[in-house]
C-alpha cells in the first residue's frame, strides 16, 4: 500500500494543482488547455473497469499522442453532433509515488453531467491511474488512464473525463 510514501510538500502541491487545472479545463470547456496538460508523446485512455480487471485491452477511447488529443478536440467541437452538457469533476484521495522522472499518481474521480432543462446526473465514477513527468513548463501527464466503474454509459461519452 502506498500509505506513508514520502513526497515533498512542493511536489504534492504541484500535483494537486495539475489535477485542479485538469478539472478546470474540462469543466470550463477549455479543451486546448486540457491538451496542454499532456506531453507530446502521451497516452490517454478511458477504460471500463471490467476490461481492466479481466485483462482485456479494449478502451472506450485510446489515444497515443498529443495529436490524437487534438483530433478529439476537433471531433467534439466540429464533427460529433450531440446534446451539449456541462461536466463537473471531483478528484480526490490522491495516492502519490515517486517515479523515475516524476510521479505515479492514482486518485478517485466523479463526473457530474448536466444537460439543459434536466436535473444533474451522476455520469461517471472511476479512478485515475497516471504517470506524471517534470517538464520545464511544470508537471505534465505522460500517461493518464481513466478506469471507470460506470460501465453502462448513459448513452454517449463525448468529452474527455
Amino acid at each position: 500500500m502506498m500509505l506513508g510514501a514520502r513526497v515533498a510538500a512542493e511536489d504534492r502541491f504541484a500535483i494537486e494543482d495539475l489535477y485542479s487545472a485538469y478539472a478546470a479545463a474540462l469543466d470550463g470547456r477549455d479543451y486546448d488547455a486540457w491538451v496542454d496538460l499532456f506531453i507530446d508523446d502521451c497516452i490517454y485512455a478511458i477504460v471500463p473497469r471490467e476490461n481492466d480487471d479481466r485483462g482485456l485491452p479494449l478502451a472506450t477511447l485510446f489515444f497515443e499522442s498529443k495529436g490524437m488529443l487534438r483530433d478529439r478536440v476537433y471531433g467534439i467541437t466540429q464533427t460529433l453532433f450531440h446534446e451539449p452538457y456541462y461536466q463537473r469533476h471531483l478528484i480526490t484521495n490522491f495516492q502519490i509515488r515517486e517515479a523515475a522522472d516524476g510521479f505515479a499518481v492514482e486518485a478517485n474521480y466523479l463526473v457530474i453531467r448536466t444537460k439543459a432543462n434536466a436535473l444533474s446526473e451522476l455520469y461517471q465514477a472511476g479512478r485515475y491511474r497516471d504517470q506524471i513527468v517534470r517538464t520545464e513548463r511544470g508537471l505534465r501527464y505522460r500517461e493518464k488512464r481513466c478506469i471507470f466503474d460506470s460501465e453502462l454509459i448513459p448513452n454517449s461519452l463525448i468529452y474527455p473525463v
Partner: protein, 416 residues
C-alpha cells in the same frame, strides 16, 4: 380482434414507409413485441463461444427482458437456460461471467445442472428427527417438472444464438441464403479473440437501432469521418442485401479516398480541410478474407448487429429496457491468429466505434432525439421513402428500402 391482441392499435397507412410514432412509445406494443419478436419464432444473440472457453465457464446474457445464462458443459456443448429459479423465482446468477459445476440458488439451495435440470433440493424427502420424518416435498414431486427454462441453442461458427421457442426454425434457415454467405465471411470458423466490451444505455426504442444499421443514407451525412475520409458515402459501390422475409440485412460498401465531390455538395458535415494530427487511427490494412468490401454492417433481427468496418470487428447486442430505452453491448473481437500489429490496429480503429466513437457516439444521440420527437406527437408518422416505397435489396446506398423491408415483416408478424 387481432388488433385487440396487439394493444388495440391500428396502423392505417398502407405499406411500410410511414411508421406511426406510437409504435416506438406504446408499452402495450412493446409487450406484444417481447412475445412475438423476442420470445417466439426468433433467434436471439447470446454471446461468442470464445467468451466461455473452458468447461463450466458461464456468461450471463439476455434475450428481450429475460436474463439468461450460457454455459460450457463437460461435453463441450453450450447450454442456455433462463436465470430464474423454479422454486420461487429468484434470479440466482448475479455475475456476468464465472465458472461453476452447478447452479445453486441461494435462497433454499435448489441446485441445477448447467443444462438446467433440477439435481436436488434440501430436505426433498424431509428431515428425520426423533424417529419421524418432518416435511419434504410431496411424494409425486417430479424433479423433471421443475428444472430451469431450457432454451434451444445453436452455435454457428463461434456465435451462440438461443430461443425460448422450441419450434423455431433452424438458425441457417432463419438467416436465409442471402445472409449466410456474408455471415460466414466474418464468421468462417476461425477462432475468435475477445478484445473487450463497451456498454451503453440508449434512451430510445430498440427498433431505432435496427433502423440505424439498415439506413445507408445517414452515414455519409451524420458522420463527418465517413464522408470526409471516404469510409462510407453515396459515391461508392454499395449493395443492400436483405433476406427473403425482409428482417435481416447486410449493408456492404467499398471505401474510397473521400475528399470533395458531387456527393459532398452542401453537406455541412463534410470538412474539406480536415486533417488528422495523428492518422494511425485510420491505418487500414486490407485483410485477405474481405474479398473486396471494406465494410459489411449486418443486422440480424431483432437482437444483433455484426460490424466489420475496415479492421474493426464487433458484435452489438440489443437488449430492450421497456419501450423507451435499450442497452447496447459491444463485444469487440479479432482472430486468435492476429499478430500484435493487427491487434493494435483493431484497437486503434475502435476509437471510431462504441459510446464515444467518432462515427457511432452520435448515432446514440440522434436515436435519443428521435424518441423525444415521438413522445411529443403520438399520432404523427415517420417518412421512409428515399428510393420509393418498395421493399427488398438495392445496388446502391441512396435508399431506405431496408427499413421498409423490416417493417413489412414486422407488420406481418405483429399483425398490425
Amino acid at each position: 380482434m387481432i388488433r385487440e391482441r396487439v394493444a388495440g392499435r391500428s396502423w392505417d397507412a398502407k405499406g411500410s414507409s410511414r411508421i406511426p410514432y406510437w409504435l416506438y412509445t406504446d408499452p402495450a406494443i412493446f409487450a406484444a413485441e417481447l412475445e412475438r419478436l423476442f420470445y417466439r419464432g426468433h433467434w436471439g444473440y447470446v454471446g461468442l463461444s470464445a467468451e466461455i472457453p473452458n468447461t463450466g465457464d458461464f456468461k450471463r446474457s439476455a434475450i428481450g427482458e429475460r436474463s439468461v445464462i450460457m454455459a460450457r458443459e463437460k461435453d463441450g456443448d453450450i447450454s442456455v437456460v433462463e436465470n430464474r429459479c423454479a422454486h420461487r423465482g429468484v434470479q440466482f446468477c448475479q455475475n456476468n461471467f464465472g465458472t461453476a459445476k452447478t447452479f445453486v440458488c441461494p435462497y433454499h439451495q435448489w441446485s441445477y445442472s448447467l443444462k438446467g435440470d433440477l439435481i436436488g433440493l434440501p430436505f426433498r424427502n424431509g428431515f428425520k428427527q426423533n424417529g419421524r420424518v418432518n416435511g419434504g416435498m410431496p411424494a409425486d414431486f417430479d424433479l423433471r417438472q421443475h428444472g430451469l427454462t431450457k432454451l434451444k441453442v445453436e452455435e454457428y461458427n463461434g456465435v451462440v444464438f438461443a430461443s425460448f421457442d422450441p419450434d423455431v426454425e433452424p438458425l441457417r434457415d432463419y438467416l436465409g441464403p442471402a445472409i449466410v454467405p456474408w455471415y460466414e465471411r466474418v464468421f468462417a470458423g476461425r477462432q475468435l479473440a475477445i478484445l473487450g466490451y463497451s456498454r451503453q444505455r440508449i434512451p430510445g426504442n430498440w427498433k431505432l437501432m435496427q433502423e440505424n444499421i439498415k439506413d445507408p443514407y445517414h452515414p455519409g451525412l451524420l458522420h463527418t469521418w465517413f464522408v470526409t475520409f471516404g469510409l462510407w458515402r453515396a459515391d461508392q459501390q454499395s449493395e443492400m442485401i436483405v433476406d427473403a422475409r425482409g428482417r435481416h440485412a447486410v449493408m456492404k460498401s467499398q471505401k474510397n479516398d473521400g475528399g470533395a465531390g458531387a456527393v459532398t455538395a452542401g453537406v455541412t458535415s463534410f470538412k474539406e480541410n480536415m486533417k488528422l494530427h495523428d492518422d494511425r487511427v485510420l491505418d487500414v490494412v486490407v485483410e485477405p478474407w474481405w474479398n473486396g468490401p471494406t465494410v459489411t454492417m449486418m443486422t440480424l433481427f431483432p437482437t444483433l448487429v455484426v460490424q466489420q468496418q475496415v479492421n474493426s470487428l464487433s458484435t452489438r447486442h440489443i437488449i430492450p429496457r421497456g419501450p423507451n430505452a435499450f442497452d447496447f453491448v459491444w463485444t469487440h473481437f479479432g482472430f486468435a491468429d492476429d499478430d500484435a500489429e493487427m491487434t493494435r490496429r483493431r484497437l486503434r480503429q475502435a476509437n471510431l466505434f462504441g459510446p464515444a466513437g467518432y462515427v457511432s457516439a452520435d448515432d446514440g444521440e440522434v436515436i435519443a432525439f428521435s424518441q423525444r420527437g415521438f413522445s411529443q406527437h403520438a399520432d404523427a408518422e415517420t417518412v421512409c421513402e428515399l428510393d420509393g416505397t418498395q421493399t427488398g435489396g438495392a445496388d446502391h446506398n441512396v435508399t431506405e428500402t431496408l427499413i421498409r423491408s423490416m417493417y413489412a415483416y414486422y407488420r406481418e408478424v405483429m399483425e398490425l
